[in-house]
């Protein structure tokens, strides 16, 4: 892990109070007309915690992410991020506060190169204005070089050096997922939201991604919320797991307890399997 990015990240994380939870999500209700996407979910994410959200399809996991990043506005409840209420703020304001996110279906800027995509992650750290951009000398130039140094460190960290100047639309799926993670990291997040980081990946790609996620938590000390369907990954990586179904919380706890919870097994496998083997165990 090299200097420019580490230094930048250290500065960002110094602004976060370790004793308090990074995120407090309390009693949030979100519905679209008659459809209840989230009804009364509460959870907290502590500093340096890897928090996983699981649940069957349509349980409201991605809706939680959309509330967090400001794409949806909940009808009730509060969301406090680094001590401030973020309900009603626009996505770009929340992003500027230090919440970074990857998407379930890759949302990269496919015409731009890997470098440009990562540089876009630095957008809210760009201080120079339009007039400086038109001249592109002095401050704008030195800032661009500094941002580029950070971006190059992330490229090293994610081992995507050889794709640097490729338009991301041409890259393989697993690499695109990595680039999207890189774009989120470039934002110097205080909280990282990963929406199905290993979906559609083969075993090798999954293991690579799992290693990056662990490195982000352990080396970079960035708290993570992860939505994932791969139970092996969730149970191995997460510190705590929350299970949701039909927009309501079922249980929250360490992976070991959650996979033995009869309610969880019922939600996933149905009534008659409630006494079957714990989830994530080899079958």
């Amino acid at each position: 892990m090299s200097d420019a990015f580490a230094a930048a990240l250290e500065k960002t994380s110094a602004e976060v109070d370790d004793a308090r939870p990074v995120l407090e999500f309390s009693d949030v209700h979100l519905h679209f007309a008659g459809v209840r996407a989230i009804s009364g979910i509460s959870f907290e994410v502590g500093a340096k915690e890897l928090f996983a959200i699981i649940g069957p399809n349509g349980a409201g996991k991605t809706s939680i992410f959309n509330v967090l990043s400001g794409v949806y506005r909940p009808q009730r409840g509060t969301v406090r991020f680094v001590g401030e209420d973020i309900v009603g703020r626009s996505p770009h304001q929340i992003a500027a506060m230090g919440m970074a996110r990857t998407f379930q279906n890759i949302e990269l800027f496919s015409n731009l190169t890997v470098i440009d995509n990562l540089m876009l992650g630095r957008h809210h750290h760009v201080r120079y204005g339009v007039l400086a951009a038109l001249v592109f000398a002095g401050r704008a130039h030195s800032e661009e070089v500094a941002h580029r140094a950070v971006v190059e460190d992330i490229i090293d960290f994610l081992e995507i050096q050889q794709y640097r100047k490729f338009p991301v639309g041409l890259l393989p799926y697993g690499i695109q997922k990595r680039v999207e993670l890189g774009r989120a990291l470039a934002m110097e997040p205080k909280l990282l939201l990963l929406d199905e980081p290993v979906a559609g990946m083969n075993v090798e790609e999954t293991e690579d991604m799992a290693r990056f996620v662990l490195d982000i938590r352990d080396e970079l000390a960035v708290p993570i919320i992860m939505v994932e369907h791969d139970m092996g990954v969730v149970m191995d990586l997460a510190d705590r797991v929350m299970v949701v179904d039909f927009g309501s919380p079922i249980t929250t706890g360490p992976p070991h307890d959650v996979q033995r919870d009869p309610d969880v097994i019922r939600a996933y496998l149905g009534q008659e399997h409630a006494s079957a083997a714990p989830m994530g165990a080899p079958r």
Binding site: S90, H92, N111, L120, A133, L134
Partner: protein, 381 residues
């Protein structure tokens, strides 16, 4: 290896024969980041400055018009090519620039409103007035997208056409128009012939200098954080917002800067063509600008210039066609199956379709193919 990486900020030296090995980020993000680009651009600029002494005045006026149109095409490319907001209203902003320049520079004692101010005032003012109008129109773009935005900006052209036609005291009215005044710099006329240079030569050089002064900042903008934000808004607006790009701000900026360029283009055109006719800022002009962007290459500055030159010079070639093809007549009233004017209109359409299907990156894409062919020559890749 580490020695290469330690020099991160400085200019960095480049080993000979390795044009794409960069030893500093600074030289990687430079405007002309390979020796070939530096030499090529230098040669083109030198040739452009030498041209007025080699060709006739008549051709020079045409080329000068192409240079002025290039400024406008760069403007449209910023909002449509980079930021992805389709605008059919470009002619309106060009008209605003032309009339701002006309009024500010006009004869104070003449038939129409005029203030007799020098070029250093009216040229930037033309851009600023058009830019301010762009800023006022931009909120529409934050509400609408795609075809809806195209329709609304189309309305702008008709509004503008009406105002330009009816506001006699400024525009002179349809069919009459207003005269150009002498554009002058430090007391030297930029349009009248002098001892050393003819009028056409001066106007051409003036347009060339303005184009360079407009194109370099546009290229800078494109490679800066602002240009990246535009591209993000164009490619995926929701993702752009989630990573911290304000859509409203990006669209406002794109429209304002684009309109500023359109205004400068209008003022330049007015200097070159010597008269302004209120009917000329119509939908056809907007469509010609779109043709320039699509033929030249969306989201490229050099493509904008290529496209503008191509579209401006096209009539010159279609004028020659009747001489060689028997069933094509000359002029609007000329006989034959179709006239050269009709042929020209058809060619715009055909070229736009052909480029969209066969080379969506436009003339710039053609250039890339040629360049890559010779890079790999004699191998195919």
């Amino acid at each position: 290896m580490t020695a290469l990486l330690t020099d991160r900020g400085g200019r960095g030296s480049r080993p000979r024969g390795r044009p794409e090995l960069y030893t500093s980020y600074s030289s990687d993000i430079a405007l002309l980041n390979t020796p070939a680009k530096r030499a090529g651009v230098l040669a083109i600029v030198a040739a452009a400055f030498a041209l007025p002494f080699a060709v006739s005045d008549q051709v020079l006026v045409l080329l000068g018009t192409g240079l002025a149109m290039s400024v406008g095409a760069i403007g449209l490319n910023i909002v449509t090519g980079y930021a992805g907001q389709v605008s059919l209203g470009h002619a309106f902003f060009v008209g605003l620039g032309a009339y701002t320049a006309a009024v500010l520079s006009g004869d104070p004692d003449g038939r129409l409103v005029g203030f007799g101010l020098p070029m250093v005032v009216w040229l930037p003012a033309a851009g600023l007035v058009a830019g301010a109008a762009g800023l006022l129109v931009a909120p529409l773009a934050t509400r609408l997208r795609g075809l809806y935005l195209a329709i609304v900006t189309l309305g702008l052209v008709f509004l503008g056409e009406h105002v330009f036609r009816e506001w006699d005291s400024v525009t002179g009215g349809p069919g009459v128009g207003r005269d150009a005044v002498q554009a002058s710099l430090f007391g030297n006329s930029l349009t009248a012939g002098g001892a050393v240079l003819s009028g056409a030569q001066k106007v051409y050089l003036f347009a060339l200098v303005v184009l360079i002064a407009a194109a370099v900042p546009a290229r800078n903008l494109a490679r800066s954080g602002v240009g990246r934000a535009f591209a993000a808004v164009r490619d995926r607006d929701i993702a752009a917002e989630v990573i911290g790009v304000s859509l409203t701000k990006a669209k406002l900026l794109a429209f304002t800067i684009s309109s500023f360029y359109a205004g400068i283009c209008g003022a330049l055109l007015y200097t070159i063509t010597r008269t302004v006719e209120p009917n000329s800022f119509n939908l056809l002009l907007s469509v010609r600008f779109i043709a320039m962007v699509l033929i030249g290459g969306a989201a490229t500055i050099s493509g904008s210039i290529m496209g503008a030159m191509f579209v401006t010079l096209l009539p010159r070639f279609t004028q020659q066609v009747p001489r060689f093809v028997p069933f094509i007549g000359q002029g609007v009233t000329g006989g034959g199956l179709l006239t050269n004017v009709e042929l020209e209109a058809m060619l715009y359409g055909l070229l736009i379709i052909a480029f969209l299907i066969f080379e969506p990156r436009g003339l710039f894409g053609v250039w890339l193919r040629v360049r890559n062919y010779w890079k790999g020559w004699p191998f195919s890749y």
